[in-house]
């Protein structure tokens, strides 16, 4: 560990993951800025944080980077493996590169920004998180998405929003196909306002009017045998 100019540097080539995470998990308000170097694709970097600190991850990571984050702002100067910011509760996670599968899975709150592309199942089972992807997202994204907002500046893969509940999906580009019970919906003024706010927070250069909104048709909310073929 090295502290310089108010930034504490944690080197994963010389420091155990447990010590790195312990340092971040026990961070106090007086020591608010950290950077992690020599990530070498390690898993579970900066997980379970619960303080308003700023963490910069210099390099690409493995699975579950920033998992279950609360309060912290975590920036990854690279790409992330599967499950980045999974089950995030609050705070902000920014990925400068691409994200593998399940980015933002089951997240309850906070903001996840992916500057590149996100792979399949982005926002799966999301429960209140906001996700903004500057590029494209893969298939089965927002599967069983419950709450929150998924914004995609590029294209969406097949079966977007399959079995979706109350989450809102905004896509600027093409949608390969919609999943069961997911339909295009009217873009009302409150949605344009919401979108403008999310785009601004995510540093995205796009106009809300360029997007289409998708959400649940709510036909599968209560089991009906006549709809069995739609699942």
């Amino acid at each position: 560990m090295n502290a310089d100019a108010g930034i504490t540097t944690l080197d994963l080539s010389t420091t155990e993951l447990r010590e790195v995470n312990e340092t971040l998990q026990s961070a106090r308000p007086g020591n608010r800025r950290y950077e992690i170097v020599n990530t070498r694709g390690a898993h579970a970097i900066a997980v379970g944080l619960d303080a308003p600190i700023e963490v910069t991850v210099k390099g690409s990571t493995g699975y579950y980077c920033a998992g279950m984050n609360k309060q912290a702002t975590i920036r990854v100067e690279g790409s992330v493996g599967p499950g980045a910011a999974e089950n995030m509760m609050s705070g902000t996670v920014i990925v400068d590169g691409d994200a593998s599968q399940y980015a933002g899975a089951t997240g309850h709150g906070g903001l996840l920004v992916v500057k590149g592309n996100a792979s399949s199942r982005c926002g799966i089972s999301m429960k209140g998180i906001d996700i903004v992807v500057h590029g494209n997202i893969g298939h089965m994204s927002a599967f069983m998405a419950q709450k929150g907002n998924l914004v995609v500046l590029g294209d969406a893969g097949a079966a977007l929003g399959d079995s979706i509940y109350e989450a809102r999906l905004f896509v600027r580009g093409e949608v390969a196909s919609l999943g069961a019970d997911c339909v295009e919906k009217e873009m009302r003024p409150e949605h344009l306002d919401l979108l403008a706010d999310l785009l601004a927070k995510a540093g995205a250069d796009a106009k809300p009017e360029e997007f289409k909104r998708y959400g649940s048709a709510r036909k599968l909310y209560n089991f009906n045998i006549d709809h069995a073929g739609e699942y």
Binding site: V47, Y63, M144, N222
Partner: protein, 440 residues
């Protein structure tokens, strides 16, 4: 006048009255039958085993004088804070939502008084459950309803649920009538809609991924909490071996008699293996990996008596877990509600429409009037009493076999009444030295 003696009307074994009633129900509704509970069909079970007891070559222990220990420690492999239990019987995971708040409180009270743990379920951790459970295992499920890092840290152990015995490979469904404002709020979903619990985890597939997921859970909880993996009784040898590989501290193995809050009857009765058939392959996997007693094995699915507990331990389990029996102990299917069961078209002992939320006993419901019928304090006492009896019975059998700790029970103490049970439990058929599959 000659009269030909009449032949009695003959019912078909294949098309029994029960089978025919299901055909008629299916024809009328167009949908499969959904119910709670575990497999009801007769399958080889612990009843098909007997203890041999002490004899010329074995010394018994004096029942009222000599000690027979029952304590068990779960999570000794990696966790900094393993769970120490006074008895080898835990309460299985059952969700708030499927069960009422008072029922969850009663389970916590009873388990705590008996010195054991209880377990959350789908839908997250409730205050009444955490508050009344000295040792609480937090289930980490595919739906992740109510999942948050604070509750992970408040738990005494974490159980990653891969499957359950009633429906290996299946998810769940909590029907809208049980989705009150509180239940819906905990699950981040609208009130009154059917809530599907996914059959697969959203952010990992397979044991290689699970190993990394467990690393994340350990990092978030500072490597303090024991991590259990719960699997349904499908392929016990490989499921246990892969769970060890994935980094489990404890493996919970649930046979097909294990209950569920709700799923298709066809799933409950036709998928998975009987509990009895699962134990020996699971123990074999642990032994082959040098992990028996290092990674603890908890067996569940149809445990009812101290004899069942003792037999499961003798076959190599470290502990057992009970769900259905615990519900019965606190008042489920009690004959005092017979008139109301009749109104629901069922009878005491057969009531299994737990998903409909109309449970006369106030256990599998969210209806305030029905819930109020269950006194959690009294129900907790009943569960404590029942757990004490299971423990005393298990000790009685262990002493009769000369064991000073229930974990000293072993397959050699058993014989089987049927060829099937002998094959599954890998103990000799009574009166012979024959273990089917092991030669003569």
């Amino acid at each position: 006048m000659d009269q030909t003696p009449p032949t009695l009307p003959r019912q078909s074994w294949t098309f029994s009255n029960e089978t025919n009633s299901e055909i008629r129900r299916a024809a009328a509704t167009g949908i499969y039958d959904i119910r709670g509970g575990g497999a009801k069909r007769r399958v080889p079970h612990f009843d098909d085993l007997l203890f041999l007891g002490a004899s010329m070559s074995r010394y018994p222990l004096e029942g009222y004088r000599e000690k027979c220990e029952t304590s068990v420690t779960l999570g000794t492999r990696f966790a900094k804070k393993p769970i120490e239990l006074k008895i080898p019987i835990t309460i299985a995971g059952m969700s708030f939502g499927s069960l009422s708040g008072p029922a969850k409180e009663a389970l916590g009270r009873g388990a705590t008084m008996a010195g054991t743990s209880t377990t959350t379920g789908d839908g997250g951790m409730t205050e009444e459950e955490r508050g009344h459970s000295k040792k609480l295992v937090y289930q980490y499920l595919p739906s992740r309803y109510g999942m948050n890092p604070d509750d992970l840290r408040r738990a005494d152990a974490i159980e990653v649920v891969v499957g359950q015995g009633a429906k290996p490979g299946g998810g769940g469904m909590l029907l809208g009538q049980k989705i009150t404002e509180r239940v819906a709020g905990m699950r981040d979903l609208p009130v009154g809609i059917d809530q599907r619990s996914a059959c697969r985890h959203p952010d990992w597939t397979g044991p290689d991924d699970l190993e990394i997921k467990i690393l994340e859970l350990r990092e978030i909880t500072k490597w303090e909490k024991p991590i259990y993996i719960k699997v349904g009784g499908a392929r016990p040898y490989y499921d246990v071996a892969l769970s060890v590989k994935a980094g489990a501290d404890v493996i919970v193995l649930d046979g097909m008699q294990g209950g569920t809050a709700a799923t298709q009857d066809v799933f409950i009765e036709h998928v998975g293996q009987p509990t009895l058939a699962c134990i020996r392959p699971a123990v074999q996997a642990l032994q082959d990996l040098g992990m028996h007693r290092k990674v603890q094995l908890v067996v569940s699915g149809g445990i009812r008596t101290g004899a069942d507990v003792a037999k499961a331990l003798a076959l190599g389990a470290d502990a057992v877990s009970i769900g259905t029996a615990a519900l019965i102990a606190i008042g489920d299917n009690d004959p005092k509600w017979e008139a109301e069961y009749q109104k629901l078209g069922t009878t005491t002992g057969a009531y299994d429409d737990w998903h409909e939320g109309r449970d006369p006993a106030g256990i599998t419901t969210q209806d305030p009037a029905l819930m109020a019928r269950l006194d959690p304090v009294e129900a907790g006492r009943r569960l404590r009493n029942y757990l004490n009896v299971l423990t005393l019975e298990c000790q009685t059998l262990a002493r009769a076999c000369g064991k000073s700790h229930v974990h000293n029970l072993e397959p050699e103490d058993l014989c089987a009444l049927t060829i099937e049970a002998a094959a599954m439990a890998q103990v000799p058929l009574a009166g012979t030295n024959w273990i089917p599959g092991k030669g003569f």
